[in-house]
């Protein structure tokens, strides 16, 4: 009987054919860690008195959550560095970028891989056709020690998208639209496969955005089957030995949904739920005082280019603080080279260190004051997420955020397309 992508990947890693509901004991191809887990998996191994880990060559560390804001966090960073160096573990230090960007950028993920990490947005790597899911620190520590973890094989949901995204409407709008329809737990415990002509038209930056938000509908994994675009992206990085894994034509899905996104409007998630999604027209005119383009959802070159298209030659409203945080050093170099960064800075953007700053309140950046409304390209708008429970967070695409900075209120980016 035909298999879904999730069943194939987990079966390959369990060494046997698997069915949904079964527990698979699997050896991940990649276990990554960042610096934000408390307790950190390395600390847990220290406390167990463990020196050896099973496969140091399958482990990657990225220090991304905050550029060393306090002495105690600096201590955690040093512990991570010492542990990594002693075992020959690849480590990317502060300023390299957000793990979810650095891992694919540096060639650590391939289609068909099994990736785990102590972060819910690990699902981002589904854009490459990997089964990538978040787990906790203890799970990561156990996987580092034993080389294995257990995963219950999920059922799969298939989403088929037709139509072409209209001008001014982007991958983030698509992600919000889907989450609005599925709800915060609409895909809990499921692996989602996103297919269709509309998906084929998304570039890799856009695919990473959509897969990144998979967890916000509860998905265990969120996968875009690899295609010519995926293979081309790898070829650009001189990686040609990638094997695209596809679902079988007779694979069984718990549900299949079709959407035509040819008429999609820019989408906005209202405070304080990611699945409370409306078309931008519904909130146009809502005053905002702070805006952020960044985070693992939207901090790639295509995101900043979309924002620059709106902001080039214009100025951010005097009452708005507009932060931009390139997701990696590679992204920063890219947008510095083609005039994108220059256009955004000329408009009045405030730039942050490549990394997670600007996302959560603990990353010491862009905390709003009481009563303020902000709009961001981040993936969550739970009350208090950016450091102040008395502020409100709207989510949107980079273009929507950029348009909103011009006016000091939520604005439709389609008015700024020329």
């Amino acid at each position: 009987m035909g298999q879904t992508i999730a069943e194939k990947i987990l079966g390959k890693h369990a060494g046997r054919t698997v069915k949904p509901g079964e527990i698979a004991i699997v050896a991940p191809d990649l276990i990554f860690c960042h610096d934000d887990s408390r307790p950190h998996p390395f600390s847990l191994l220290h406390s167990l008195g463990v020196e050896r880990i099973a496969h140091p060559d399958r482990v990657v560390v990225v220090l991304d959550h905050a550029p060393s804001p306090t002495a105690s966090v600096a201590g955690v960073h040093q512990m991570i560095r010492d542990f990594s160096r002693a075992r020959g573990i690849q480590l990317y230090d502060i300023g390299t970028g957000i793990a979810h960007l650095v891992l694919p950028e540096k060639g650590h993920v391939r289609p068909g891989d099994l990736v785990i990490g102590p972060d819910s947005h690990t699902c981002t790597q589904g854009a490459i056709g990997a089964f990538a899911c978040g787990v906790g620190s203890a799970d990561v520590a156990a996987a580092l020690l034993s080389g294995q973890t257990w995963l219950r094989v999920p059922e799969s949901i298939r989403i088929e998208l037709s139509g072409t995204l209209p001008p001014g409407v982007y991958a983030k709008d698509l992600a919000l639209f889907l989450i609005g329809h599925f709800g915060a737990d609409g895909a809990t415990y499921k692996s989602v496969e996103l297919t269709g002509t509309a998906v084929a038209e998304l570039d890799m930056d856009g695919r990473f955005t959509v897969c990144n938000m998979g967890i916000e509908m509860g998905a265990k994994a969120f996968i875009i089957p690899p295609d010519e675009t995926t293979l081309g992206w790898f070829a650009d990085r001189q990686m040609r030995d990638v094997v695209p894994l596809q679902a079988d034509p007779d694979a069984r899905y718990s549900e299949t949904r079709h959407y035509d996104i040819g008429e999609l409007a820019p989408q906005v998630a209202l405070p304080h739920r990611v699945d409370d999604v409306v078309a931008v027209e519904a909130v146009e005119g809502t005053p905002i005082r702070q805006a952020v383009i960044g985070t693992c959802t939207n901090s790639r070159p295509a995101d900043f280019r979309a924002a620059a298209k709106v902001l080039r030659g214009r100025k951010v409203h005097r009452d708005v603080r507009f932060y931009i945080i390139p997701g990696s050093r590679g992204v920063l170099a890219n947008i510095a080279a083609d005039g994108t960064l220059e256009a955004l800075l000329a408009a009045g953007a405030i730039m942050g260190t490549p990394g997670c700053s600007g996302c959560i309140g603990g990353a010491h950046f862009a905390v709003p004051s009481d009563g303020e409304k902000m709009i961001t390209t981040a993936n969550r708008n739970f009350r208090g997420r950016t450091g102040n429970r008395n502020a409100s967070i709207y989510l949107g695409s980079p273009a929507t955020v950029a348009a909103s900075t011009l006016n000091g209120y939520i604005s439709d980016p389609r008015n700024y397309l020329e």
Binding site: D36, G136, S137, L145, D185, I360
Partner: protein, 166 residues
């Protein structure tokens, strides 16, 4: 494994940022200090009302959001003896077991704030002493129960020198 306590009823989609605000998670390393802020952004008075041994009863999708273990750790350190909910987000489900916080899937709609409950995790029985009712739930599988009894996944490893699946 039996747990008895008074319940605090919460709603649906209690996310990890509500359980412990992001602004503390990265920089406060002390669990006792973090525990003082449990559920603060959802209900600033909750920590003050919670007594050790109390049980949290919630709706759907409890623990959605982050993969950080901080959420179940803070609940446990604040004294929550167990969480029962109509459904759990999957990463929270794993993490709760891994840190030794008992969780049970159960239709909580008939429960009321302040009910005195008694839970038997081996038998899968729930007694509501306040309402005078009994009900059953799916008891955790043997391996999960063993992890909970040990106090968490790594505590299990410390005790048995292997993981439940090896």
């Amino acid at each position: 494994m039996k747990i008895a306590g008074k319940i605090h009823v919460l709603g649906d989609d209690i996310n990890t940022d509500y359980i412990i605000s992001s602004k503390y998670k990265s920089t406060i390393l002390d669990l006792d200090e973090l525990a003082q802020h449990v559920l603060e952004d959802y209900d600033p008075d909750f920590a003050g009302r919670l007594n050790p041994g109390d049980i949290v009863a919630a709706g759907n999708n409890f623990g959605c959001g982050s993969a950080r273990e901080t959420a179940p750790l803070v609940l446990k350190r604040a004294g929550v003896a167990a969480v029962i909910a109509r459904s759990f987000a999957r990463i929270f489900f794993r993490n709760a077991h891994n840190v030794g916080l008992p969780i049970i899937e159960f239709d909580t709609r008939a429960l009321e704030n302040g009910d005195q409950l008694e839970l038997d995790l081996v038998a899968g029985c729930l007694v509501n002493h306040t309402q005078g009712k009994e009900a059953t739930f799916s008891a955790p599988p043997a391996e999960m129960l063993a992890i909970l009894k040990a106090g968490g996944l790594l505590e299990y490893y410390r005790h048995y020198h292997h993981f439940p699946w090896t």
